[in-house]
């Protein structure tokens, strides 16, 4: 079986708001950093979500090591800032350090990074692609994988495809060339775009729509990541059995293990079981919808109280079990 995940050196993680895409991106970066490997985790939305996850201070515009993965790989992190990326870019290609400051004063940098359509996105994706392509003196890649915590599903295709638009808008010149170079990376098998979802209707629908959009734009779809999967404590058959007239028997059963007031508890307990059964059923429906999309999936458990660094490592372990980094 071909594991595209290992081939793809740029792994873009998107998902509807609230599905935990930053957490999944971080876990993926950890999972990919197997022995002797190095991954770079980048964020592009200026939210400092990575710093919050890893419980460190705000990340500067600088690649720094934030974690050692199980087995010894290393995870670096970078919060890409469009303005700094543009100034770097001007300096790198035009030696415009001083002029850059003057441009900033005039509002030109602000214009380029916030108003000019797409330029900001080109700078962000451009920086990520630069990290993908960067090599060390001995010739090997600096990073084995780059994982991007990307904008949400609703905006991901435009975000990644904006280079096409910019290449059309700026028809010549370095921005044009840059946009085209970025697009070549993004549309190649070097890239995989993963969409994080929950087993709920809205996120699943948005995932289906997002995949259709990505495919239409010829961007490589990676995996669906089903996040926060909760265990099914009771199956539906059991709940149905409970709905039969077993209330007294259940109350007696509660009494037998020292829980008094069983008759009063039975009703709320059965209500909770009914809710649970309904959720199990809805989840099954959503799973069927996801199956219909025909994109392979990873599944990650709900962490509950474990939404901390230990939880991240657990998710990374889970991803490896499912083939990441293999």
């Amino acid at each position: 079986m071909v594991r595209l995940d290992s081939v793809s050196r740029l792994q873009v993680v998107s998902g509807k708001g609230g599905t935990g895409k930053t957490t999944v991106a971080a876990a993926l970066a950890l999972a990919l950093a197997t022995e002797g490997k190095r991954t770079l985790l980048v964020e592009v939305e200026g939210r400092q979500g990575i710093a919050q996850l890893f419980e460190t201070e705000a990340l500067p515009y600088e690649e720094r090591k934030i974690a050692v993965a199980p087995g010894g790989g290393e995870v670096y992190a970078l919060a890409i800032d469009a303005e700094r990326a543009l100034l770097d870019y001007l300096q790198m290609f035009y030696k415009l350090g001083g002029a850059g400051r003057a441009l900033k004063k005039l509002g030109a940098i602000d214009f380029a990074t916030t108003i000019a359509p797409g330029v900001r996105d080109v700078l962000l994706t451009g920086k990520a692609c630069e990290a993908v392509k960067r090599r060390e003196k001995h010739g090997g890649h600096t990073y084995d994988h780059v994982v991007m915590d990307a904008p949400p599903t609703g905006r991901i295709t435009r975000f990644l495809n904006v280079n096409d638009e910019v290449a059309g808008l700026a028809r010549i010149g370095p921005i044009h060339n840059q946009a085209q170079a970025v697009m070549r990376v993004l549309k190649s098998p070097e890239t995989a775009v993963h969409l994080v979802t929950l087993l709920e209707e809205m996120p699943v629908q948005e995932t289906a729509d997002g995949i259709a959009e990505l495919r239409a734009a010829e961007l490589p779809v990676g995996r669906v990541v089903v996040n926060m999967v909760r265990p099914h404590v009771l199956d539906e058959a059991a709940v149905r059995a409970a709905s039969g007239d077993h209330r007294e028997a259940i109350a007696r059963s509660l009494g037998s293990v020292g829980i008094a007031g069983g008759t009063r508890l039975v009703e709320p307990l059965l209500d909770q079981a009914a809710e649970h059964a309904r959720r199990v059923e809805l989840e099954r429906d959503q799973r069927a919808v996801l199956d219909g999309i025909g994109v392979p999936a990873y599944e990650l458990p709900f962490l509950g109280d474990g939404g901390d660094i230990a939880g991240l490592y657990r998710l990374a372990k889970e991803l490896r079990k499912q083939g990441v980094g293999a």
């Binding site: 609230g18 939305e45 415009l96 949400p152 044009h176 265990p231 020292g258 079981a273 509950g304």
Partner: protein
């Protein structure tokens, strides 16, 4: 076998009412008394009934149910006699359909099926940002100039793609709806932004760009001699246009310059309207609702928003907390429930002597670590749902097949489920306590978690009931 409750229909007919924690037994005696009782309750009915309330803005992080909250409030207000328009930005398809607005045509459409009293009505619309921008251009420029702007490649990208356009156009549309004065209540949903604060920032950013030095510089070539006396600007301009020209390509810059020249006369209008809408948001007739779920990230964003609204002197009505879990059996702790479940399992194993045979049991270890596959689902029987609910036929139920062991197993399952629920409650409580510590003054409306999504007006009504039900039992 018994029938199974289907998602939308059967549940209410059987004893298996799946309508969620909100209907749980209200057992005040066992209610967990915590510091949270001091948190003021956000009363939404008085807010929507108050004719002085003209605008309600729902804001918050992505995925917390802003749009659903806005739609549910719209339905409720209309059915209580208000003439309401709901402006949604990017609704999930089925939610839009639930209000009958699956056509995206940028104008408010009347929603059918509102059981209004006193002439209440509901209109709903989805924002089309490009269309809104186009309409502004068409309304404020003579036809020829308007066409030049609409055809300009830079404009086309700006109107469809720029990260702040949606926020700006949402504000613009809000101003337009208010000016039409056809509705006495406007409920607005905010865009799913990178950060919730973009909604407040983006219009200013666009405004400052349009007013800024940079635009004037770009326009200078079109106004030859206009600023000849200011040497620095000329130097700056030539250096800058030179650099940007190099960077972006000459054509791009020319497109921008043409666009700016064509838009010149409209800039004042943009700025004025943005300022007017901003003031409207600060006015007493406006109420902001910060929407969140009892999760860390969502409440962190909510806290930012509360602080920001205060800084901007915008009127905060309170926090709508969606997807809150409750329990009718909160007096039974997670620990006791789990221990009792283990006792029952031990008893069962002793009975059978064969470990975990039979019904799919849950491992005694932490449930999160249990098999993530859908083992439980796969054991669902294939019996088709029958027309009659089981509760009406207790005599034909499979009582005879339910052995003592089965009941014990079932009870253990119920207890585990309860333990899990209590852990969820505890976690939600901790997250909320953090928020409350920061902002004890913010009134809160709790909305009980629903098992599924909303598909129709009835669903929105149900959310409206939950929004206004007051505090949940033991939550």
């Amino acid at each position: 076998m018994t029938d199974k409750p289907t998602a939308g229909t059967g549940a209410d007919a059987t004893g298996l009412d799946a309508s969620g924690a909100g209907t749980a037994v209200r057992d005040t005696a066992e209610r967990d008394t915590t510091g949270l009782d001091a948190v003021p309750v956000l009363e939404l009915d008085p807010l929507i009934d108050d004719r002085g309330t003209r605008i309600i803005v729902c804001c918050g992080a992505g995925g917390v149910g802003k749009t659903t909250t806005a739609a549910a409030l719209g339905v409720r207000a209309a059915e209580r006699g208000r003439r309401v328009v709901v402006l949604t930005i990017d609704p999930a398809r089925r939610l839009a359909q639930s209000m009958g607005i699956d056509s995206l045509d940028n104008t408010p459409r009347k929603v059918d099926g509102i059981k209004g009293s006193d002439g209440g009505e509901l209109h709903a619309m989805m924002l089309d940002m490009k269309r809104t921008f186009d309409e502004i251009v068409e309304a404020h420029a003579e036809p020829e100039r308007a066409r030049a702007i609409l055809e300009n490649p830079f404009y086309q990208s700006l109107s469809a793609g720029f990260a702040g356009t949606q926020e700006y156009m949402a504000m613009e549309k809000l101003g337009q709806l208010r000016a039409r004065d056809e509705w006495d209540l406007i409920v607005v949903d905010t865009p799913p932004s990178r950060s919730a604060l973009d909604f407040l920032d983006a219009p200013k950013r666009l405004g400052s760009f349009l007013d800024g030095k940079f635009i004037k510089l770009l326009m200078a070539p079109a106004k030859v001699g206009g600023r000849a006396g200011i040497k620095f600007l000329n130097v700056g301009m030539s250096m800058m246009t030179g650099t940007l020209g190099k960077l972006l390509g000459g054509q791009f810059l020319k497109d921008v310059q043409t666009f700016v020249a064509a838009m010149d006369t409209m800039f004042g209008g943009f700025r004025t309207r943005a300022d007017a809408t901003y003031k409207l948001l600060q006015a007493p007739g406006t109420a902001f609702l910060v929407v969140a779920t009892p999760e860390r990230d969502a409440l962190r964003e909510a806290a930012y928003f509360v602080e920001r609204l205060a800084a901007e002197e915008m009127p905060l009505a309170g926090l709508v907390l969606n997807r809150v879990h409750g329990s009718g059996a909160a007096g039974l702790s997670a620990e006791r429930a789990r221990a009792a479940a283990e006792n029952l399992d031990e008893g069962r194993m002793a009975d059978r002597g064969d470990g975990k045979a039979g019904l799919s049991g849950s491992p005694a270890t932490s449930p999160e670590l249990s098999d993530l596959a859908t083992a439980a689902v796969s054991s669902v029987t294939e019996a088709a749902p029958t027309a009659e609910p089981a509760a009406q036929h207790p005599d034909v139920d499979d009582v005879s097949t339910a052995t003592d062991t089965d009941v014990r197993h079932l009870t253990a399952g119920l207890l585990r489920l309860h333990a899990e629920r209590m852990r969820v409650l505890a976690r939600e409580q901790r997250t909320r306590d953090r928020f409350t510590a920061l902002h004890p003054e913010v009134a809160v409306a709790e909305v009980a978690a629903l098992p599924g999504d909303v598909h129709d007006l009835a669903g929105l009504r149900a959310i409206g009931d939950r929004l206004t039900a007051g505090r949940m039992p033991s939550a």
